[in-house]
Amino acid sequence: MWSYIVRRVGLLVPTLALVTVLVALLVRLLPGDAVEIIIGQYTPLTHGDREAVRRQLGLDKPWYEQYGEFVAGVFTGDWGTSLQSQQPIGRELARRLPVTFELGLLALLISIVVAVPVGVIAAIRQDRWLDYLMRGTAIVFIAVPAFWLGTLVVVLPNVWWGWAPPIHYESFFDDPLSNLYFMIIPAAILGLGLSGSVMRLTRTQMLEVLRQDYIRTAWAKGLRERVVILRHALRNALIPVTTLIGLQVPLLVGGTVVLETIFSVPGIGSYLVTAVNSRDYPVVQAVNLVVALAVVLSNLLVDVLYAYLDPRIRYA
């Protein structure tokens, strides 16, 4: 098991290196002059002025040199300085990461709370109207993009009832109720989007498990339905579901980028959008590194969990 983990961790390093190199390259290919955006398009800079600002911001160096400095900084705990605000990126990440983490966690919880019971019910009511309804709903959740649902939630209740989602973010530790009121809507949209595939997989796995001999035995023993379903069937059906939930972290991150913008959530998603728009290269690199780290670590966790649950993997 340990050698498996070491192997996987070993793969993690080149993956992260590749991601950061790609991000550093691609963000510099975006059209638009970082200096013009940062200093102001309407300031009549001469070529010399522009070059001076570029030097001051360290943008005159080749991209690989800027990248090298960034990586070296990360290893020493210095995430660099934002070109826009001239403020430490690490401090901003520390402020925003918990917000995105909370949003992601809430979304994950909502997706599990919705998807697993619905998947189980759909399986035990297979091919009845409830099953069709739930499967249809799952497909809708998968098909409807979060940005569209988010926009509908912002617009329609406002048109019908004059209601709008809250505007002002409060930290959970300052005002838990306000915080949850603020977060619950984007989290629900994100969570429902994720729940579709979890729901379908739960149903499929439950159907497979319910046809197993040991379930038939459980029925034959005269166990109550609740015990058969929850204790014997669901436990085994949830193994692949658990891994799927872990693998959805990238989707979760992608969703937060969009929903944080729509609902004005001050997390790293909206930080990334702003940084891309303003060509704030160090911020884009830093946020992407954090996101990449979150994704590869969650994948690693899933793999390890899967290997732990299924010995065939770890001995392969």
Partner: protein, 594 residues
Amino acid sequence: MQTREKQGWQRFLRRGLTRRQFLRAGAVGAAALAGSAYLACGEESAPSTPVAGAPGAETPWLGGLLRFALSDVQGRFDAQRFPTFTVQTFNSFFVSRLLKHISAPDDPNTEDLDLPPSDWYRPVPDLAKSYEVVDQVTYIFTLQDNATWHPVPPVNGRPVTPDDVVKAWEYYKSARPDRGVNLAAIDSMTVAGPRQVQVKLSRPFGPLLVMLASPSDLWIYPPEATNNPDLLNTTLIGSGPFILRSYQQGVMAKADKNPNWWATDDRGNRLPYVDGFEAYVIPDKNNEISQFTAGRLETMTVPSELIDVFRRQNPQAIITKTIANLLTIIFFPPAAYEANQPPFNDPRVRQAVSLAIDREALIQLASGGKGGKKHNLLNAGFIWYVDPEGPEMGDLGQFFRRDVQRARQLLAAAGYPDGIDTELHYTANAYVTAVPYYNPMAEALPAMLREAGIRARLVNHDYQSEWINPQGGIFFGGLRSGMAFALETPVPHPWNQFTNQFSDNPRNHSRIRDPEILRLIDQLGQETDFDRGRALALEIQRINARNMYYIPLVGPYGFGARQPYTRAYAAPTSYGIGSESTPYFQIDTSRQRL
């Protein structure tokens, strides 16, 4: 002391009152105006409310919390080091300038801006209550008697001194990335008395007052802030109408009324009227509209494509429409002027291009059917705009109206009876979000031109590498052939724009050298009289229209909205709203939902 300045203030105030405002304001307003005019004659008594028009007959609504959405400054506070419009706008709430631009009461019964174009961007007192022109190159500014810094550490409400202004000027020169090119004519700024600052110019410089009023340039920061980068990087301290209470990047800013701001209204009420504001960062426009509809915002800007939906959702909202200070133009290759390269060396061909363009259709396209205005060389949202088809342009207005037949005749007369084959260059990847009407306009132009026999192939360029590249970018004189469709960025004064467009400057896109225009620009740069300056600007625009060096196109309306329980002042610019119009914003708190 009868100075030119005092006559100037009086004239600003007198001109600022439109007939409609006068009728609405009635006797009280007229009396207030007369009072202001009278006060302006005295040495120590500049108008307390430097806005156009009377404050209105109604008793002002006092107090309340103003809530609106604001573009995030992303942790940048220093408008000298980061002179972008978001930082400048944010500064305007907290930091003073020597002068500021005039604003006017926003009449809820009309959507038009209640300020005649001739008054747009007029400089009025801010930190300086008055100025004196000693000679053509010497100005003395007298500071407001009761101007103090915010009552927060480390300035703790101490008086603003002339020395502070001088130090702010020195900081401006050292911190600006462009080294203060807009105010390069200022040779020195020195203390000239207990409340006076002397500005010495290296040459007569007519745009000085407009430049000092512009949010693009000199902000008066306390030396305690400019000497302490940590302070200026984390908060804003000034002498403006509001005090920054808190700022969360990407979330919101909270501010309180500055109880010691120098301005009062004509009833003696201290401005601002509101107790404070909350400015939220709301990146999504749909969300912003929803917040407005739910009564959580008092005011907002509405994109033209959403204005119909907005009106349906908010039938009671008071709406104002304005034109953005942004010029759309077509320009020609430098070789047309420098090497007599056909076909655009012939003014008749350039006139034909202008005649082929259906500006009304472009307005409809750009605004989504909401309307707009035809630009002259000074755009329709800019100071001293002159309607290109108005009486001041005389028969030159014909070149701004579509006439395909006449365009074909001009082409034939220039030796192109079968029309011309050419290109229309543009950049498709720069303005998709910021100026969403740019690309559709570029795509519509070739079809219009083709009907007049100008067969223009649309050629797209990458913004970064091919458009604004200082070495040979199309925008900076690198157009080899054909025409280019571009956006001209706004500047504080027409003198800047004309200098850019016609003198030895990278922004002289076509390397035009017209001796008559250069002479007029030189005069404009020295002219201190507003009316004479406007006449010079008009003449330059007439010469341009005659020759069509640059072909001005159109600008669509943009919309602003506020709740029915508010009263507001408005100005054609938004960068200076913090001190120019927000202090006069009033909220009927009995109808406000908090």
